[in-house]
Symmetry: C2
Subunit: 466 residues, 2 copies
């Protein structure tokens, strides 16, 4: 990488908005990583905090001329290392491009720059009685650009779909600095290949997203909430399978296993019971009597599958507290892990909903086989589970066991007809595993498309593509 490290960043500086180029080593290093664990961060050449499309174009033109790799990043809240620096790269941070360009209530669309925080967009839309449903765990801190680049999910997906379902069009800066518009802002459009869809979830490997046109929904009706208590995860999993298979359309259906509930209770008081095998959190925002009917159906099915107690509440304060409890899983687990050596590997498999009972049985076998602690929460209604392997990061043998368990969980997802990643992405963390999911043809298609659109290999090299 000696040639890249020697690239004359002062030539770049003249092309950028004043103050965009950062060469202070401490600042650069502070931007070197996202939230993934066990993903290395390299030493970047410089950091560019882009203020405009022109800044992004200048970075790509410079990168092309000097063959410098570029790692695009937003709020760096990703969990797969996709935004981590690699040696000699330019870190292209677009978080400062954070303007909501337009909100169009008549067409129910909006245009936003990539650095807009998801929650800020939601707040701005609420003033127009509109909503943008995708709600990754990072909703309060992650950017729309990052959400699009990773096809982010969240708790809404069981009813409202994922990020890709809301992307109509985008402006992208390609590897050579060309600015292009992909997709159409209209409700329908089939003029050519769906290149906007190709960019969604491409993790910075095909281009840099500098503007997005999103489809919106009318403001979502407020939900009512139910909590179901189960003796074990398998019975909770079977409940989800049967409930979703009945044609139910809950607006949220989350699972939290017993160890995770205990961690939440140790972290704060959210009114959750102690000593449960698993807990299901269900919401419905169906209109009229529909919501109550949907939660009563859940109650019947939960009790038929071994659920011991089901509470229903139409008090918005209860709903908010329960969702806050679910959102507390991540910090509660981090606290718990930190007290035990700090090791935590969060997995993200997605399986067919019919396989959830099986999934939990086999997950327990994995914990036993590798002698590790696994706590699981996730978007059960979509079959998208996040088992976390918790271990002492200072103990080499525990680290090795944890990594093997983490891999075994991905293999379990594949064995059950699912995927190694439902919403967190491949990045660095799972790049060696992508080839286990894709067959030879799909792998070759990935390589050929990558070479076609990034012939110099400067866009986030080493991520996604193993």
């Amino acid at each position: 990488m000696s040639t890249t490290v020697q690239a004359p960043t002062q030539d770049l500086e003249a092309q950028l908005s004043a103050g965009s180029l950062v060469t202070d080593r401490d600042v650069i290093d502070a931007y070197a990583s996202d939230k993934a664990l066990f993903c290395p961060a390299g030493q970047a050449l410089a950091l560019v905090r882009a203020r405009s499309v022109d800044d992004v174009v200048a970075v790509m033109a410079f990168a092309t001329e000097h063959r410098v790799p570029v790692v695009t990043q937003g709020a760096r809240t990703g969990l797969s290392g996709a935004a981590n620096a690699i040696d000699g790269c330019l870190l292209l941070n677009v978080a400062a491009m954070d303007e909501i360009v337009a909100i169009d209530p008549v067409n129910q669309t909006c245009r936003v720059q990539p650095g807009v925080i998801n929650q800020d967009l939601k707040a701005a839309l609420a003033e127009h009685a509109l909503s943008y449903p995708p709600d990754p765990g990072s909703v309060a801190i992650s950017t729309i650009g990052g959400n699009v680049a990773t096809n982010a999910g969240g708790m809404c997906c069981v009813k409202y779909g994922v990020t890709k379902d809301y992307v109509r069009a985008m402006t992208v800066v390609l590897a050579d600095g060309t600015v292009t518009k992909l997709g159409t802002a209209t409700a329908k459009g089939v003029a050519g290949l769906d290149l906007a869809a190709l960019l969604v979830g491409s993790e910075g490997t095909l281009g840099t997203i500098v503007e997005v046109t999103l489809a919106l929904k009318p403001a979502l009706p407020p939900p009512i909430t139910a909590v179901g208590i189960f003796p074990d995860t398998a019975s909770a999993g079977r409940t989800v399978t049967e409930y979703m298979g009945s044609g139910a359309a809950p607006s949220l259906l989350e699972l939290i296993d017993g160890p995770s509930v205990a961690m939440i209770n140790a972290y704060g008081d959210f009114g959750l019971p102690d000593d449960v095998g698993a807990l299901l959190l269900v919401q419905s925002n169906a209109s009229g009597a529909g919501a109550v009917e949907e939660l009563e159906a859940f109650q019947r099915i939960a009790e038929a599958n071994g659920g011991t107690e089901v509470f229903v509440s139409d008090d918005p304060a209860d709903s908010e507290l329960l969702v806050a409890a679910r959102r507390a899983v991540a910090p509660a687990m981090e606290k718990y892990a930190n007290e035990r050596g700090g090791g935590e590997l969060v997995d993200d498999v997605c399986v067919p909903r019919s396989a959830l009972g099986d999934f939990f049985e086999k997950l327990r076998a994995i914990a036993t086989e590798f002698d590790v602690e696994i706590a699981t929460a996730g978007h059960a209604g979509d079959g998208n589970m996040h088992p976390s392997v918790i271990f002492d990061a200072g103990d080499e043998s525990q680290v090795a066991q944890a990594q093997e368990a983490f891999a075994a969980i991905m293999q379990l997802g594949l064995d059950l007809g699912g995927t190694i990643t439902g919403e967190h992405g491949v990045g660095f963390l799972k790049r060696e595993w992508l080839g286990h999911e894709l067959d030879a043809g799909a792998t070759l298609m990935h390589q050929k498309i990558k070479e076609a659109l990034d012939p110099l290999g400067i866009l986030n090299p080493g991520k996604m593509f193993g």
Copy 2:
């Protein structure tokens, strides 16, 4: 093309299911065209009626070895010439691969071969209280494979989206005969690039789809229906703009202009009034009191925008008759055109819903400027309109005027922030126009991806890519 015409099809025959290869010129020619007008059909080398994935693989291996172009087709109901033969090609017809492989009520998915007729799938799913909403005008005769290859739309889209919203995974035979699986059957998945989305709407230019996994919905509730009568299309257009902008979620919102209504009335008795400027057909299947409320809201907005009469009916027979009237536009217009020289160019622009009033004003100006008759129906709730230019195909000057009007309509769509094609596709008909919609960067991306995945240029050459 002399080398391709000499390719030894008898070598291919030995690799195929018995009887799959057709070299009878009359049969081949009968398969040479889809339903597009003004699109030339070339002389194919042979027709293969594939029975299996192996047949498709054999065709592509042969085509690769002998550099023979391949045009994949299903029911040939497309309206853009994408399925038309080109000189020296193999016509690869997959309509006989028509098995519904699996229906999975628990996961609400199904796996189908490409030749399954859309309506047949709907009927099979109804037995499981499931539905597959996409409903192109050709629903009774078109195949799922063709629907996916063109990203077909229909009347449901205003509430339920288009074909791409239902495609989870697919099996594709690539240009060199490699069989690969793209996407994942699970509700979520972000393992690698979204190559299944890239294939949706690719019109046979990137690979041949041999199996599709579709997401399903619970059976849709029956709708109630309203009809609104307007003095002109512009007032109907403004009604759609305001109604959709109010957050309404109708399950159908179609517009039929006065000339089209007259053609329907001349074609059959569907109970439509005579002498209207335009007619809006609206349905709601919202639960409980929601449906009536949605149609009452429509009534208020229609009347405020110049609507003269609005009828609401909850009689399913009325609903069916009115939808049948809408579906009768195509044959009624064909009959009308045939009585006047047989010329009919059906356009397919999609504009922002806010532009519908403008669209109709300017459409009238186009009819005047080019002295042609234009009749329009379409999926107004999505802004996706089908103005048809009707003319005497035997009169050269009328043909020229009609083609200029057809082009002016596409330009109007672009000028209003829309697209040249909302659901019919590019194919041959609009390949010269694709470059008017795409910028230089997007055009180059198309070419590079095409070259990457079809380096010999044997997959439907000359279609989509101008």
